[in-house]
Point group: D2
Chain length 365, copies 4
Amino acid sequence: MPNTFGHAFRITTFGESHGGGVGVVIDGCPPGYKIDLDLVQTWLNRRRPGQSKISSPRDEKDRVECLSGLEGGITLGTPIALLVRNEDQKPGHYSDLQQVFRPSHADYTTLTKYGVRPGSGGGRASARETIGRVAAAAVAEQILTAKLPGFRCVAYVDSVKGEAAHIDDPASVTRDEVEAHILRCPDQAGRARLEAIITAAQKDGDSVGGTIACAISGVPVGLGDPVFDKLEADLAKAMMSLPASKGFEVGLGFRSTLMFGSEHNDAFTSSNGRISTVTNRSGGIQGGISNGELVYCRVAFKPVATIFKVQDSVDAAGVPVKLRPKAGRHDPCVLPRAVPMVEAMAILVVMDHWLRQQMLVATRV
Amino acid sequence: MPNTFGHAFRITTFGESHGGGVGVVIDGCPPGYKIDLDLVQTWLNRRRPGQSKISSPRDEKDRVECLSGLEGGITLGTPIALLVRNEDQKPGHYSDLQQVFRPSHADYTTLTKYGVRPGSGGGRASARETIGRVAAAAVAEQILTAKLPGFRCVAYVDSVKGEAAHIDDPASVTRDEVEAHILRCPDQAGRARLEAIITAAQKDGDSVGGTIACAISGVPVGLGDPVFDKLEADLAKAMMSLPASKGFEVGLGFRSTLMFGSEHNDAFTSSNGRISTVTNRSGGIQGGISNGELVYCRVAFKPVATIFKVQDSVDAAGVPVKLRPKAGRHDPCVLPRAVPMVEAMAILVVMDHWLRQQMLVATRV
Amino acid sequence: MPNTFGHAFRITTFGESHGGGVGVVIDGCPPGYKIDLDLVQTWLNRRRPGQSKISSPRDEKDRVECLSGLEGGITLGTPIALLVRNEDQKPGHYSDLQQVFRPSHADYTTLTKYGVRPGSGGGRASARETIGRVAAAAVAEQILTAKLPGFRCVAYVDSVKGEAAHIDDPASVTRDEVEAHILRCPDQAGRARLEAIITAAQKDGDSVGGTIACAISGVPVGLGDPVFDKLEADLAKAMMSLPASKGFEVGLGFRSTLMFGSEHNDAFTSSNGRISTVTNRSGGIQGGISNGELVYCRVAFKPVATIFKVQDSVDAAGVPVKLRPKAGRHDPCVLPRAVPMVEAMAILVVMDHWLRQQMLVATRV
Amino acid sequence: MPNTFGHAFRITTFGESHGGGVGVVIDGCPPGYKIDLDLVQTWLNRRRPGQSKISSPRDEKDRVECLSGLEGGITLGTPIALLVRNEDQKPGHYSDLQQVFRPSHADYTTLTKYGVRPGSGGGRASARETIGRVAAAAVAEQILTAKLPGFRCVAYVDSVKGEAAHIDDPASVTRDEVEAHILRCPDQAGRARLEAIITAAQKDGDSVGGTIACAISGVPVGLGDPVFDKLEADLAKAMMSLPASKGFEVGLGFRSTLMFGSEHNDAFTSSNGRISTVTNRSGGIQGGISNGELVYCRVAFKPVATIFKVQDSVDAAGVPVKLRPKAGRHDPCVLPRAVPMVEAMAILVVMDHWLRQQMLVATRV
């Protein structure tokens, strides 16, 4: 089910960059909840390109319309269909690319897999595909916030081309702090360094990547379904399904491999009967199940494949071609826009597992 | 479906460490293929503890029995049930642990999630749970090898506590080279350094982690199902569902974030009509779909949570406890035994996506 | 996944009678096929009420729009989203029904299950919900017809309130014959009797039910997936998910229970190497798998619950109420409109199983 | 997922008649429940052939073993694997049938679908396949009984070859009454007539079919998930996946088509605030959701395909053959043994939907 994600809170996304529109159908949303579509729109605005000089100037309005599942703003328990029209279609813009495979794009693999290729460009490999994910997460977040008082999911740009932001306490970062600057990096002192790297790459027609951190507070103990649907496994799949992601880690991740067990283990303690861990190197998950601590993960995004330099490639007949892209509308760095995408995928995973866990809660002997 | 993995080649695993047995039911295995159960047994032997001084001395025979789905060694197209009995049950061994939550183990989260906890120890959080996965992969590998001439999946220990093995060409490593040494690291010159780290940790009652690399040759172009079931997304979920895994990356992974797009992009070339890429920084996947190059990924495993040092913890009532484990049967480093597990998960993902892609192949216009 | 049907050809429908619209997302449609949206519209026109004096006068235009998945009329292999706007919304029309549960409607069960009830009427329990199913089937039929030369699926009204149509050979009935008369009964001589029953009931403010037969030619041997996804099991689920259906049978169905085994068994014969059965009492399915003969089934539809007579009921507080419906827009008999719905569900089941079987075909040793 | 049934309470069955064994893995069973394996064994004994002169004399012990998921008889929330060994294997018994397709058996369709055919006979098309279903239902029933005080599911033989039993009130039939007689028909006065039909057919080497009724009391309001997973739709699929079933109806079923709407509608009433219906022609389901009344359905089973008469058939090469079966071990009528199978499928459907509904209950605003 390649275009469906989740089991209890299931989203099915649809839409190419250049068809009638993109969107999502949510099945499994519990009934009776008030959903504010303006908050959904706010999420879409965050995802939208064209927000600054370091983002693509493409101006898509991305107005969301709810086709079903809500009445008077209340969820009916029926599928919620959300649609965003494609307004700024310029299929001709990509036309000369039809003949040549862009390096590290999906052109070659898409054509070989399906036998057809969207003539108008990237099709579902476009970041525009993520609109449905983000819209669904904006619905899920409203329900989680209503039911889990301390729930908060905040992602931010953690490094750009190896230059790291300095964030002392990921749990304390707020979405407002992240949104306050176009880079979506809450390191007020350091982010100018990161921004300079992007600007320099852009000037050179090149691109850069980096990492995004995601911190989720207020996740109750017990989410995650071993052995395959462990919480970190579903987070990993969620993040690695995002365009341009190349790596995922939870807790200390790859850095945990540098430690002894005696350094890495999180000792238990308790206070007023509430059990917690003294440290949180595990990133809030043990044995695939949330332990009530901050769920923390990081995602690596490669440098954007679209660059404004001559590249070697071939056409569909295998003939060598020098690819000389014209100026177009592309980000030199996907990171700022990927921040809401990372949050969206994290929220969808938590929402799905929270719903799944409710079945156990309700059937407790 | 927490204990089922895959869509076309679906495995459902079952079994705790200390019940009647562990195993797997494979649904979706195509009919008419010859399966050699001795090869399945060989896989299980590789996974088994008790292989050397750096592995757990627990001696489980782990003889596999096929209950269904084969007749005369030929797959019938019906579910293949494979069972391994638990022979070396010593539930009392763990009994004093029932009262106290072991740090960075699944005890606390399991009890809180399910309201019950296997009195006999780790239950499904034990590495013994992976027997079903490995047995299923041993079946899948035989089919893939029969249909895809160049198919080969080889994993190996890539680093131990930050000390890296030096492997020039992952594609050239053979399983025989990996199996030739107990560490499962094909770096003949360097592996003594890695082994020394493990031995020292063991002597100190401590544990270490590291990374495992996995290289899959002969994957045809076209495997992977965007947008959610991208090949790297399913690989990520597969690997992150393994016990003790904390990170996953494909291609250059986190290191790709250090590069410019112009350095990272894989230029296309062609030879005798066959299109390929000059470099393979993408790890054989572009846009979520295999491109015919070597599929390459790495998995981070934390240091084993079981150590032979006094640790702070609490009991189920929240009372602080000094945890003093007796000598037991545990690996100081999970890496060597995790090598076949990583291979198994990689094979299961490729098998599933290869079957899925056959539907497109068969319905091509 | 209550709003998703099928595994390989998966449809997810959405939409209430009185929201923005109704529709479907198809995931798993193979790429490269030409789809004529005019044929989809023709299907929707067949399903639409307001076609005659024995159907509801509600005039919905039901124009279909394709939002994604097609480019130049060719399937891309991506999700196909089809939308039909709700144009004739009159939510106030139902308003006084909000207080009282209509007998044998879904009002009471919907409110009790979800805790909310669409104030505008039947919500997803409305027959309008089937638009998505019919649109998806119209796509599937074009692909099946392209790949399976003899494929043809024809349903028709078989009986009304016990008065049976006389059809000598279901396999020879054409859709044109069915569509030639508003009753959708191809028995030219007898259908006046059936129509008279409906007209009389309508005059009396009452309603009637009946049976629909469905004959599917050209189904290849081998469709159906035992043990749970047997072809007749999936057909049964498909039909029993239609509004107002109360019974399903395949082959001789309940009449088979009147026979001896020696009378019911279908002897095999062969002609020019092609194996077939002399009789077809099994309805083209043996052991859950199609045998190449005509697949034949029948569906029972109860008399429509909406009648224009005073009925006893209660309101949400349990207070007895005399329900006196005003004149509204409802069919006295659902059968004619249910004919394309039955065909649609049959086509969706065959399409799904045909795709599933292609995986076996492609992996044959 | 052809061998998996259910979404929240998922069973995966495995096993052929003549391999190592048959069984089931249950995933999704809630933790903390006491399960009595003796009750599971009792269910298996009911399903077992060899119970009387009108059943097959094949003596299978069918002892169930629990491999996982229980500890001290308590469910752990992990997969419950149940295994029944095949003890009475006589593969040679069927050997001469390998060459010829038995009429109305699965031989021809199985061979054509899979390209291989179990040489030992029917494989998964055997009724022995239902052991896994029955064992899983025996687990589910214990949980439902614990949580739903009035829950009771009783099926019984309702007619044999058109000769109907007379049961005034299906809701009042007890399982003890059904089990009191080998025919499993609680009509004490009339069942001799039904038994005589079977005995006569057996004497003549022939077989007969009939209908089984199933009445489920104590189903709470709200089970069933429109639009596709309506309660009657899942019941229909469940029943039509049983060997030899040819028809399904809920409530008055096909007989409802003989009535006016004004005769068929179930008026609402209330007593002490509890809403109910005056009649129950709907069979306890409205709009796909249970309404708190008795859920009532009927299943048609064809006459057994195995008869002891000469039949016309062909071999795999299409050559006409007179099929002369030797005396073997087969029932002349599947109905008595099908009674626990029908109950099992009903219980599995209710269990699955009850669990699904708990998610809504737990998330109610």
